[in-house]
Amino acid sequence: MSTQTRSPGIALDYVKTIGIVNNGFNGRGFANPYDIVVGKDERIFVLNRCDPARAAAIRIGICTMDEDYLGEFGKGNGTGDGQFVWAVAMALDSQERLHITDEHSNRVTIYSLSGEYLSHWGKSGSGDGELNGPAGIAIDSADNVFVVDQHNSRIQKFTSDGKFIANWGSLGSGDGQFNLPWGAAVDSDDNVYVADWRNDRIQKFTNDGQFLAAYGSSGEGEGQFRRPTSVAIDTDGFIYVADWGNERVQVFGSDGAFQLLLRGEATISKWGEDYLASNPEEQAEREVSNLKPELPAHLNTPYHISSQTEPYFWGPVSVSLDGRGRLYVTETNRHRFQVYQKH
C-alpha cells in the first residue's frame, strides 16, 4: 500500500521528521503538539497542548529545520496572563506577533516571537465578539483575525487586538452553517476557509463571510473526510486538509478536485537517534523489528492502524505551510511533525 499518490498537478516529497516525545520537563521534544507556525526567519514554532498531568509544561517550543532545539516559552498552565488550559491553534500577524487560542479559557493570547507575553483578549458568551470554545485562528493580509468560535457555531472577525468586526454562521449542515468547526486559514486573496469538523467538510467564504464553496463529504474515499481539523492554502491555490479521523492529509486543487493523499512515512529524527544511541539494546531490537506490521482484522480502523504503525500519521491535527513550499504535518499522538517539500 503506497502512502502517497502522484498526480500531474502537484508533487510532495517527504523530507524528514522532527520531534521526540517530551515528558514535560524543559528540553528538546514536544508534548502533544497541536499546531505549528513558521516565522519569516524559518524558525518553527510548535504549540504543545500537553495533557493535564504535564500541564505545567504547556509551552511553545522552537526549533529549526536542522533539528536544533532553540528553546521554549510560555507561562504554564492556568488562567493567568500568558497561561493556557486547552490551547488549540496559532497564527502570525504582519508584525510577527503570535496569536494563540484557548478553547477552555475562551481567549486569544498574544506573544512576541521572542517569547514575551504581550496581552490577551476574549470574553465568554454568545454575544457579538464573545467566545465559546475558540479553536482555529487565521489572520489575513490586513491583519484581520478570524477566530473559529466552535460552540457558537460561527466564525468571528476581529481586529488584531480583539475588537469585534463581524461574524457569520449558525449550527447546522447547510451552506454557511457549522458543526463544531475547528481549523481556519486564509488564501492569498484573503478568502477564509474553515475545517467544518463534524460536518466532515471544508467551507470557503469571502473575507466578509459570504459562502463560496464547500468541499468533501463523510467517508474514507478520496475527497472524503472524517473529522477534518485543519486547512491550509498555498500561493498556487492548492488546498491542504488534515483529515484527522482518517489519519491522513489530502491535497486538492483550487477547484476542489482531489490531487493526492499522504498517509505519513516518518523516519527517525535526530533527537530520536540521540535517544537510541544512549539506549543500544533498545536500538538493536528496533532495528530488527517491522514497524509496518500486518495487523489482525479487528484492528482495522485508521486510528488503530496508526497506533501500531509508527511511520503513519497519528493524530494529524494541523497542516501548516511556509514560504518555501514546505508542508508541516503536526501529529499530536506522535509528538512530532513530518515535513514535505512541494515541487
Binding site: G19, I20, V21, N23, N32, Y34, R49, C50, D51, P52, A53, V85, W86, E103, H104, L180, W182, W197, R198, R227, G245, A266, I268, S269, W271, G272, Y275, L276, N279, E281, E282, E285, R286, V288, S289, N290, L291, P293, E294, L295, P296, L299, H304, S307, Q308, E310, W314, G315, T332, N333, R334, H335, R336
Partner: protein, 472 residues
Amino acid sequence: MINNETALMAHLLRRAGFGANRTELEQYLAMGYEGAVEALLHPSDPNNMPDDLIRRYHVEQSELRDLAGSAAYWMYRMISTSCPMEEKTALFWHGLFATGYAKLNQARSLLNQVDMFRHSGLGSYEDLLVELSKDPAMIVWLDNNENHGTAINENFGRELLELFSMGIGNYSEEDIKECSRAFTGWTLGNAEYMAIRAAKDSIWPYGRIAWHFDYREEDHDDGEKTFLGETGRFNGEDIIRIIVKQESTARFVATRLFQFFAADVISEAGEKAVQAMMEAYFSSGYQIREMMRTLFLSDYFKSEEARFARVKGPVEMVVGAIRMAGSYQNPALGIEKVSNTMLYMGQGLLQPPTVEGWHEGSEWIDSGALVERVNFAAKELSDVSSPGVRSIIDRLAATANQGVLDPSDLADGCLDLLGPIQVSDETRSVLVEYASRNGDLDLSSHQPGDESEQRVGNMLRLVAATREYQLA
C-alpha cells in the same frame, strides 16, 4: 414503604450495572423483571460519549500513553453507557484476569483487552479463554512471549490453570508443563522490541506502539502432549477445550460470578444458586450469559438475603454516584481527578495490585478509603446544579402534598430516589431528625440553587454518607 418491584429492579441494576436513577428504573420496570434481565444480558448499542469528541479535547485519551488518561477514558464509557451490564462484565473480567499496567506500561493494550471483554465477556468461556490467550497484554503480563519451543516458560500455563480455571489441586505439575508447551509460539508482533520497551517504560521516540497477536509457528512445540489424561498434539485451543470441560472450571467461574454479581459471601442458599449456575454452564456450552440469566432469575438473587449483600467497589461507588448525579455528560477537564479518586479508594482502573486482582468485599473498607468514599458521594449528590439531582428535586416536589414535605417525607423520598435504599430504623431516625432541624420543606416554588433546594442537597449528602449506601 418501599415498593417491592421497584426495590428488586433497583437491586438488579446495582448488580448488573452501577445503580439507576428513577428515570432509568422506570424504563426497566416497564419491561418487567424478565424483560429487564434479557435487555441487560443482550447489550446492543451502548450509545457512549462519542470517541471523536473525547479525543478532540482530551489529547491524553487520544494517545492513551499513560494510565491517568486511559483510566479516565474507561470512566467515560462507564458513565455514559446505556448498556451497563456490558461495562460491569468488562470490569468483572478485568478484576479476574487482573492484567496490570505495572509491568506492561501499555495502557492501550489493556484497554483493547477490556474491549475484548465487552464483546466476548458474555459468550462462551471457551472462546473467551482462547481470546485471552491471544491477547497481547496477557501474553506480556504472564511472560508467554518468553515461552519458546526450545525453552518453555510456565507462567501463563500455570496461571491459566490456577487462577483462570480449575484452581490448585485439580491438575499436576506435569499438566502445567504440557499446558505451557501447547502455548509456545503464542506471542506478539515485534515481541522482543515490545518487551524491552515495556521493561524500560520506553515512550521514545514517538510515544507508544500498540501491540497485536502473532503466532510464531517455528517457535511452537507441536509434539505429543498428555494433559488431564488426554493425549494429542495439542495446541492452545485444544488445552482450553479440555479445561472448560472440567467441573472444577465450572465451579470456579460460577463462584467468581456469584461473588461479583450476587454476594460477597456464599451462604447455603447461595450455594444452591452457584450449583444452578454450574448446570447452566454445562447445558449451554459454557455460556456466561446463560449462567448470568440463571443467577438473575434465581430465587436466591431475588430474595431479601441477596439485597445489599455486597460492599460496593470503588468503581461502583464513583460511577454510581456520577450516573445518579448526571454529571460528566460531556468531555470536561477534571475527569482524571475523578478516576484518581478511585485509586485513592483502593481500586485503580487498569492497575490491579497483583495477578490475584483486588481483594473485594469488606476489604474495600479502611478508614482512608471510607473517608474518600463518603466525601466523594456526598459532594456529588449534594450538588443541586447537577441534572440528576435536579431531577430528584423535581420528583420530590411533584409527589409532595402541594409541594410540601415533612421531615419523614424528605428522608424517605431521598432514600427512595437514590435507590430505593433500605436502612435500619436507627439510621432512618437520624435522617428524619436531621431533616426536622428546619421543619417542613416547601418545594412548591423552588428556584435553581435556592435554600429549599439546598435542603434537599443536604439530605442527599447525608444519605450518601450512610453505612447502607456503601453497600450494593
